[in-house]
C-alpha cells in the first residue's frame, strides 16, 4: 500500500515536469515548422539586428522563452521584411534544405541552453502577451548578434565565407 502511495505521489510530482517538457517540445516543433512571426524592430547597433518575434504556446512563459530561439532561427532561416525604419534582410542561411541537411548540428545548436543563446538577448520591458483562442501569442524585441552568428555558421561549414574560393 505504502509503495502504491509513494508511486502515486512520485507520479504527481513528475506530471507537471512532463507537461512542461511536452510544451517545450511543442514549442520547438513550432520553431522548426516556422510557426512564429518575425519583423524588424528598428535599427540596431552595428553587427546586430533588432527584431520583434511573436511565439505561440499554451503557456505564456514557454512562448516567452521561445522568443529568443525563434529570433535566432528567423535570422538564420527566414529573414524578415522591412518597416519600422529598417529594410528587409535575407536569411543568413539561404541554401534550401540546409537545416535538414545539417540536422544534427542544428538540433544541438537549438537545444535547451544551446549555442543559440549566445547570439540573442531579449530587450527588457518589450514583452507583449495576447491570448489567441486556447493559446498565448507572446511578442518580444530581441537583439540578435548577426555578425557573430554568421561567423559561427561559416566556422561550422553551414555557409560559405565571403571570400570562400579565393
Amino acid at each position: 500500500m505504502r509503495k502504491i502511495i509513494f508511486l502515486l505521489l512520485g507520479a504527481l510530482v513528475c506530471l507537471p515536469m512532463t507537461a512542461e517538457t511536452a510544451k517545450e517540445k511543442k514549442a520547438n516543433k513550432d520553431t522548426q515548422a516556422y510557426r512564429y512571426e518575425i519583423e524588424c524592430a528598428g535599427n540596431a547597433q552595428p553587427g546586430s539586428y533588432l527584431v520583434k518575434v511573436w511565439s505561440y504556446s499554451k503557456k505564456a512563459s514557454v512562448a516567452e522563452n521561445q522568443c529568443r530561439k525563434n529570433a535566432v532561427h528567423g535570422v538564420l532561416f527566414k529573414g524578415f521584411g522591412g518597416g519600422n525604419g529598417c529594410i528587409a534582410q535575407r536569411a543568413i542561411v539561404n541554401t534550401p534544405g540546409a537545416e535538414d541537411v545539417n540536422k544534427t548540428y542544428f538540433d544541438q545548436f537549438f537545444s535547451e541552453g544551446g549555442e543559440f543563446m549566445k547570439y540573442a538577448s531579449i530587450v527588457a520591458g518589450t514583452t507583449e502577451t495576447v491570448k489567441v483562442g486556447k493559446e498565448y501569442k507572446v511578442g518580444n524585441v530581441v537583439n540578435v548578434r548577426k555578425d557573430d552568428l554568421r561567423k559561427a555558421m561559416e566556422h561550422a561549414g553551414i555557409i560559405k565565407s565571403f571570400n570562400a574560393g579565393f
Binding site: 535599427n43 552595428p46 525604419g85 529598417c86 529594410i87 528587409a88 534582410q89 535575407r90 539561404n94 548577426k146 555578425d147 560559405k160 565565407s161 565571403f162 571570400n163 570562400a164 574560393g165 579565393f166
Partner: protein, 316 residues
Amino acid sequence: MKKVLLLTAVMSMAIAVSAQIKKPELMVFPSENWCITNGYYTEVTNMDYQQKVPAYREALQENTQLKLAIAKINELFAAREFPLEDLEQTLKNIDQERAEDNLTMSKNGNELSETPLDAISRVAKADIILELTWSVNDMGLKHSLTYILEAKDAYTGKSVAAVSGTGDPSMNADVAVLLEEAIVSRMDNFQNSLMDYFGTMQEQGREIRFDIKVFADNEAGVDLETEFGEDELGDIIQRWMAQNTVSQRFSLKAASETHMDFTQVRIPLYDDYGIAMDASSFAKKLQKALKKEPFKIPSKVLMKGLGRAVLIIGEK
C-alpha cells in the same frame, strides 16, 4: 629517389596554392552622377562637344561625407575579411603615371584617350567597381536620404549587385548619420548579392571580354578571312572558342576581316595544370594554337586586367 619525391611534393603544393581563384579587386568610387551633381568635375572638349569628367581627387579632398562613406564601406568589407582597394591611395599612384600618359596622348593627338575612371581602374586593376550615389531630399523641416550602391564588373561593364532605397524622413539626424545608417543597413544584402555573383563565377567560369584584331599590312600576310583548307581563320577561331569555353558560352558581338569582338566569354577558372586562368592566359592559349601548323601565325597578347584581353594577329 628522395629528391624526386621532394620535388613532386613541392610541385603538388605549388599547384594546390595556385589552384585558388584570383581574388577580385574591389574599389569604391563616387558615381559620375554624384560627382557632377555636387560640382566635382572638370569640363573637357572631346570631338567638339563639352564633356563633364568626374574630379575624384577634388571630391575626396573637399567632401567629408564622401570620405566617411568610403571609409564605412571599406570597414564593413574588411570585417568580412575582404579588404578593398583604396581610391585615395590609387590616385596618388596615378600621379606617377600621368606624365607618361600625357606624353602618349600628345603624340597621338588625342586629348582624352582614357577617362579618369579607366585610368584608375587600370592602375588599381579594380575588377569590380562599387559606385556610390546619394542625395538628400528636403521636405520642409524633415529630410531623407536616397542611397544607391552598385557593383559593376570593370571589364564587362555589367552590373553585378546593387542596393538602393530612400530612408525614412527625419528631423534631427545629420546627413552623415543618415548616410552611415543607409550603408550599414543595406550592406548585408549587397554583400549577399556579391557572394551570389562570386558563386556563379566559381560555377560557370570567369566572364571575360576577348577581342581579336589584325595588324595592318602584317608580315604574316593574314587577316580573319584568310583560308586554311576550306575554312576561314575567323571560323576556325570560333570553333576554338567553342572547344575552350565553359559549356560553349560566348557571344560574337562583331566580326569583320580585321576584328572579332567576343563578349560574355566564360572561361574555365583553371588551366590544364590547375593554375588560375584570366583573360590574358586564355588569349595566350589561342596564341599558342595559332602558332602551330598549319597556321604558323605570330600574334601579340595585350592584357587589360583580369577580365579583358586583346590578341593582335599577324606580328609579334
